[in-house]
């Protein structure tokens, strides 16, 4: 123990008083000394950061040229070409549908999955471990990779996109659903069990009603997320507006590309506004 106040003269009073701080052997230091582990993490982080920065060719020169290119992109994109607004709107609509259908199936599948993952509703530990592993895997694989896989499996088009969104939604929703289920106070469930209710009855009676508002909020986040990812999925041929955007870009029709980007912006913002309005109502 190091003396906290070296200048302090030991008191001769009988009663231990507040002016004898040294009697508290375990008083925490003002700032916790970082452990070796913390230092190690810091050093590794700095090394990776500096290497990454130089590897990306992050030079002022290139940034300037990039800004110039961007300028010429916008110069060519202006004014946006609305002549193909019909097919573009249709593709956007298709994108939105992909997201909605994918999320709906994803949420439906997430429910049982979440109940199997949550500690308080899972029937057995091995089931829980397997389900958690599955959900973690689904979440780890990015949506774009799922889309690539499903394009191979079911061919180009919206079906591949929908399947990719389903996988992504399960990874997202099952995790947050099960975390919410685990947060539920055990009291009401126990009260129902004490009346002779079975496991499934307890779940429908006490667990789901209490978790429902949070499930709705999470599902709405999933819709927002799915609309954004549905846009990108088209770039690998999994249907939707991404296909249009890809075509416009490769054919240097930046004026059409700008129209598409503007429409995406409007729809994504619209969906986010709508979903937060619904969330406010439910919660």
């Amino acid at each position: 123990m190091r003396p906290a106040f070296p200048c302090h003269k030991p008191s001769t009073l009988e009663k231990p008083a507040m002016n004898q701080p040294s009697q508290y052997r375990d008083m925490p230091t003002r700032v916790a000394t970082p452990s070796i582990f913390t230092w190690l993490i810091l050093v590794i982080f700095l090394a990776l950061f500096i290497q990454g920065l130089s590897g990306a060719g992050f030079t002022p020169d290139r940034l300037l040229r990039g800004a110039g290119n961007l300028g010429s992109f916008f110069a060519q994109a202006m004014p946006p070409d609305f002549s193909r607004i019909g097919p573009i709107a249709k593709a956007m609509y298709e994108t939105f549908q992909m997201a909605l259908v994918g999320v709906t199936f994803g949420v439906i599948l997430s429910l049982p999955m979440a109940l199997l993952c949550a500690r308080n509703t899972s029937p057995a530990a091995p089931v829980r471990v397997v389900c958690r592993g599955t959900v973690a895997t689904l979440r780890t694989i990015p949506d774009l990779v799922w889309a690539l896989i499903f394009v191979v499996a079911v061919g180009l088009g919206p079906l591949a996109g929908i399947l990719a969104i389903i996988m992504d939604t399960i990874g997202f929703c099952a995790r947050f659903f099960s975390e919410r289920v685990e947060e539920i106070r055990p009291g009401p469930s126990e009260a129902l069990a004490s009346t002779g209710a079975g496991r499934m009855q307890v779940i429908t009676g006490a667990v789901l009603p209490e978790a429902f508002p949070s499930f709705v909020a999470t599902s709405l986040f999933a819709v927002e997320k799915a609309v954004r990812s549905a846009v990108v999925l088209g770039l690998v041929g999994a249907g939707g507006i991404g296909v249009e955007l890809n075509t416009a870009m490769t054919m240097f029709r930046y004026d059409q590309a700008l129209t598409i980007i503007m429409i995406i912006l409007v729809v994504v913002i619209g969906v986010e506004q709508l979903s937060s309005a619904i969330r406010r109502r439910v919660l």
Partner: protein, 268 residues
């Protein structure tokens, strides 16, 4: 009508806490007992063992002659149907209506998943739920969300849920702890009049000794998980009851503290 036989049960929690130490007693069908003891003396644990929410680590519990401790699955559910519990912390499903919470009392009688939801419940069940709410004078708040009710109102709804269950045993764990004196008195009167009307066997935990005096026919008291009093109320003196709490400080921290003086055991 069911009696309760507790054969020397002990409960040691996985973390090593010995909550009950060879507690045994018998309570005849239709009789009532008030359970007393300091905080952490094991009252809730004992009641939980009587509904198999907790399993004793030794000994066994028989309710109506059936061994509760070894019951599992469907036979456990059958037995639990007949044992109503009013919890220390009010355990209503917060975002459902009072009416819906009362309907859940019938869950044990239904086989399906949806039988006790407000939209799917049978007309008889709905009518009986309303009757139960009337019994606790809460019918006028039937459609209010449980978490918007006051503590006393919630506890009355919890009692209505237990009535809906139509049990022959009621275990009440400090049913009035969260209530003001007036509301507490009403809840106790309600509980006791219902139990008398239906011939139910009742064990009720209380911290308020004057309330215990009013309602207790028989006192059972625990100190650090051991039964120290089990006698008709008339034979237990106020000094005996006071002594239960005198050593609470030492007793809660460490049940095996040396020099812990136990109140004189009073047994009838």
């Amino acid at each position: 009508m069911r009696d309760i036989r507790v054969h020397d049960i002990s409960k040691v929690f996985p973390n090593g806490t010995r909550a009950l130490d060879k507690v045994g007693f018998e309570l005849g069908a239709g009789e009532s007992a008030v359970l007393l003891g300091h905080n952490g003396s094991g009252k809730s644990t004992l009641l939980r063992c009587l509904n198999a929410l907790e399993r004793p680590t030794a000994g066994r519990v028989e309710v109506g002659g059936i061994n509760l401790t070894s019951a599992r699955g469907a036979s456990l559910r059958m037995l639990r149907r007949d044992i109503g519990v009013v919890f220390q912390r009010i355990n209503l499903v917060p975002n459902l209506s009072a009416f819906q919470n009362v309907l859940f009392g019938a869950m044990g009688r239904q086989r399906g998943l949806l039988g006790s939801l407000s939209i799917t419940a049978s007309a008889e069940d709905r009518a009986f739920a309303m009757h139960c709410l009337e019994r606790v004078s809460m019918a006028h708040l039937a459609s209010q969300r449980a978490d918007t009710l006051s503590g006393g109102q919630q506890q009355r709804v919890a009692i209505a849920r237990t009535l809906m269950q139509r049990p022959s045993v009621i275990l009440a764990d400090e049913p009035i702890a969260a209530l003001d004196p007036k509301a507490g008195q009403r809840v106790m009167e309600l509980l006791w009049s219902v139990a008398r009307d239906e011939g139910m066997t009742v064990i009720c935990t209380l911290h308020n000794l004057s309330v215990a005096r009013i309602y207790g026919e028989r006192f059972i008291a625990l100190v650090s998980g051991r039964k120290v009093i089990d006698a008709p109320a008339a034979k237990v003196s106020d000094a005996d009851l006071k002594a239960l709490y005198a050593d609470a400080d030492t007793a809660e921290d460490d049940g095996d503290a040396p020099g812990l003086s136990m109140p004189q055991a009073v047994n009838a």
